[in-house]
Symmetry: D2
Subunit: 337 residues, 4 copies
């Protein structure tokens, strides 16, 4: 961390801040320029209270050099993390493909879709049981019954289950029944939930918040990891921008950015990003080409009657077609599906 | 709701959608243009599954005419709501002024600040006990001990307490001890929490999410109200934009917008919006001039040593000065402090 | 400027950059920390090529301490600038009120509106002759004929004319006929045009670009001023954000921000910001309360038949009403209309 | 176009708007619902003044069905446009690769880079002669001398020249010397310039504005095309969002969107989007996978001493490496480099 003080700051003011920083276990060095005074801070600065320093009227700028995350950062963990979900890997040389409907609607629906996506090469089944919906009057999911149906589909196909948790209330059921627990974009900074999930050892699929910076995204992962759970997979699903043609704007540059900053696997959800089924194919291909560790795709056997997200769901035949193209690009990237 | 079908849509496709809509209890009218076919939907469209209609390939556009919220909307509730917190009103002719520190830090701190802000004219005391922080390594609040200290400060000053809840875990304690329960920006779409709060009869101060549209903001209020709790106060605290000079961009146009769309009171938090103490005064004055029902301001007796948000906190003397100016503008607006 | 090098940077690399900076006329100081090396740069850094330094693989971060603008900045020009337009002032104790139609449409229209807004207290007349329209098929303005009509209205009322220039082609006519030359939001970074206007001594009303940061806004002013024309007035007219309820999001915090960073006057255009006539009043009041030096308001005698911007134009009677309220707030702020 | 009137609108008001629309050459149909009245507008609605309709207090919403662009739209021009630049094609089965330095700096520099990028497979040479820079104190380009140097490089390599025009002043020189005239992001809505370029028959490379919607982007193309020049190539180069880790956020979904809405070719500039050289490779690959018709990449033989954009420029060896990977993905997409 580097603190830039204004030119005429009195020594006593600088001393006060130096002492506070040293009290947090860091060392400082001071150098006097003509126009400003620079204080360098050395050591683990993650505990230094930046806001308190910024609150000082003599401080012009505070610049962090170290990233604020430790467990999620690549600095102390240079090798890529490969998360192991009962043998199915996310990260590394195998492309993770998570497919399935937005919502679990019935046994017939989820089992049928699970079989179809497995045939096409998916290695995880998604399906929402608890659904965060903008309107309280929209379908809110089958809830616990949905979890039961997902288990049936897993029994039929062997595909591990990915499904979203909306609060810590049912965390024991999720730990028991679910293979990968998803935290949705709207809960990315539900810190209470993140801490509880950090106490489990389940794989957590953490979706980027609608307007979360990359740093905030990694800090949300840090919340989970700081409690001891290092099985975190990041998922970009589009950010909110001024453009309204697409539901959200898919930020694919997040993949190389996270690969540089972090060791965690990162996957892409083109369905939620675009919000239109016909964009899923090109965006899925781009995601693989940009280096993503996996894809999360909404597939429905009857989109026109889906209880949610019909407009962005593709049919199983289309999914099969996309998988063929994705496979070809993955091979160029040295990855297998 | 108006549905615009593409020119060559077959009658059977239109019939299918008409039947689905009529199944949701609405009526439809069809008119054929040269370039497109328009289906008007009449009745309570809040239960119609728009996504399902959009998923139909023949549909060009779906346009809502009615707003999707009912309880939060002004349509069925034309008069302004005035929320009553044990005699202290929010909404109407009295400007609500909520002031206090970002975090409760000690008895001495919270009581001292409470007394000072009361003297200057604040009618509610704010103070964070549970703190949502970007970093897991930052101060997370005194938690339940913080609630106890707030109660002491209330005992000393009589000021009703406003404090943030971060999950439904401690909802009983909050209902017992707190006068206004705040839902922070990061939890604006924590629907599980909203529903639980909807089951209480406490006043809920709902902060706008960082990237929530006005419609999503009102739909979050609708979540609370649809469970039976109509004591909702909305709070704008800045939205996330490309501009980084300010912490967030305060969107004051939200006040006239919400006054048009909804009957709920709306207040402004200039401290979080700007993120810099010296901007609080001009933004507070603008908030009153634009028609806000109240202000929420961070006041600290020692900002340079505050455990959080020091850079945006003002000192009690400055708060006193601001209140004088705010009072003058409030009078022009026909309001009292 | 402070440059932070990575820990293991070789001395020769640092020397190379030091020499380049010293070649640009600045001095440097180096201090070695354990985790990084800090090079402080002292002197006029506005000519240092930051991108070149950032291109060096050993450089971790480059932090500017000085602002990149000089003539527009308050640092070397501490007193507020008051622009004098043939006796009418912008800045200081008098609130500038610029009112008139979006487009000049006819002699009758512009003269009638000019008379009405003058009566209500406007001290400048606006009216578009050259209109930047999103569609080539929309009304593009009366062009040079529009300038003639504005001159007629000025002759009738004495109000100085504010109108937009769209390219340097007609700059001589504008210098001859117009009192304040407006640069629209879309041309804020039309650097060729800015430089040409910098060579005149006319007052330039520079509108903030739709997605321009405050720094970019001031740098656009610097373009004009660096050519010798210091008569620049800044105008905030809403920025583009994710919110679509309003046409743009009015960023009122820009007023205190610019007052801190710059000595130039700054005014607010609530009409373009909101895009809805009924929001003009509350936003105009807020603009005065936040400390703006003036207002720019679209007034039309027949909005429902206006050739452009009818939805955001107010009628003369409404303008008169708004002026009364604005005047009351201006007085509290120590300003006169 | 569909106009939704409020429930109690008087017939005379609706008649007034009907007559205005019919005066613009369109037909109307009226249907009365219980809650609202819908007026459908049929015909070429591009000349209908929407703002005037929205200004009517009885109008609730105006919904466009037709897109507002005609020449740029796919509706009246279903086949993909392939632009022919003296035999070099943009669009169709050949991937256009435009490479070269940000700024032309010297004969040696531009000729050397031109040779290197040609060897690696580039089929166009880029190089800035007139440079739009945020600061008036930054290098502004060699201007006309830069054009001369580009011609030399073309003579040596045969590569057609792509370079940016900043105002209509030098349009004759550009038409004479340049093969593809680039309009930069900041000038995307410099309508005067667009119209002048529309009068030439040169290929225009139109970059998307920093905060331009897809519709505004296509309307800017329409400005050029409406004057008669149909040789337009669109270029996405990143949009402005809240994320600051990357210089801009590359919006790759624009490629399938434009392919659906328009027949014009669309290429991607990963260098300006990311602003960091190490992101160029993954984003270039993603651009080809998503279906772009070409790439525009900044290549410099000495980025650490480049006069501009050094931090995002790659070296010729790296460009060669990227081209190999891009070629492999292009082949899967059925395209050649």
């Amino acid at each position: 961390m580097v603190i830039i003080f204004k030119q005429n700051t009195e020594k006593s003011e600088i001393e006060k801040i130096k002492r506070a920083i040293e009290g947090d276990g860091c060392e400082t060095t001071v150098s006097h320029g003509k126009d400003y005074i620079v204080v360098g801070v050395i050591g683990d600065t993650s505990k230094v209270n930046i806001e308190r320093i910024q609150a000082n009227e003599n401080v012009d700028k505070v610049v962090r050099v170290q990233e604020p995350y430790k467990k999620a950062g690549r600095h102390f963990h240079p090798q890529d993390t490969i998360v192991d979900v009962d043998g199915s890997k996310i990260g590394g040389k195998r492309l993770a493909v998570i497919a399935g409907p937005c919502s679990v609607e019935s046994e017939e629906q989820i089992v049928e879709i699970a079989k179809r996506v497995k045939q096409s090469g998916a290695n995880f089944l998604r399906g929402g049981a608890f659904k965060p919906r903008t309107s309280p009057y929209s379908f809110q999911g089958l809830e616990l019954e949905g979890l039961d149906l997902l288990k049936l589909a897993k029994k039929e196909t062997g595909l591990p289950i990915v499904t979203e948790i909306m609060s810590a209330d049912f965390i024991d059921r999720f730990v028991e029944d679910v293979d990968v627990i998803q935290v949705g974009a709207r809960n990315m900074q539900n810190f209470t939930l993140l801490k509880e999930l950090g106490k489990t050892r389940k794989t957590i699929l953490l979706k980027r918040g609608l307007s979360a910076t990359i740093e905030e995204f990694l800090m949300a992962a840090e919340y989970i990891m700081s409690e001891g759970n290092e099985n975190v997979v990041l998922c970009e699903r589009g950010i909110r921008t001024f453009e309204t043609y697409t539901r959200n704007t898919l930020d694919l540059s997040v993949v190389p950015a996270i690969k540089k900053l972090s060791h965690l696997p990162v996957i892409i959800d083109p369905s939620h990003a675009a919000g239109m089924w016909w964009m899923v194919e090109p965006l899925a291909k781009a995601a693989v080409a940009v280096g993503a560790d996996g894809l999360m795709i909404e597939v429905h056997n009857d989109p026109a009657n889906a209880k949610s997200d019909g407009q962005q769901s593709i049919k199983p035949d289309k999914f099969d077609e996309i998988m063929k193209k994705v496979r070809a690009i993955a091979e160029i990237e040295g990855k297998q599906v």
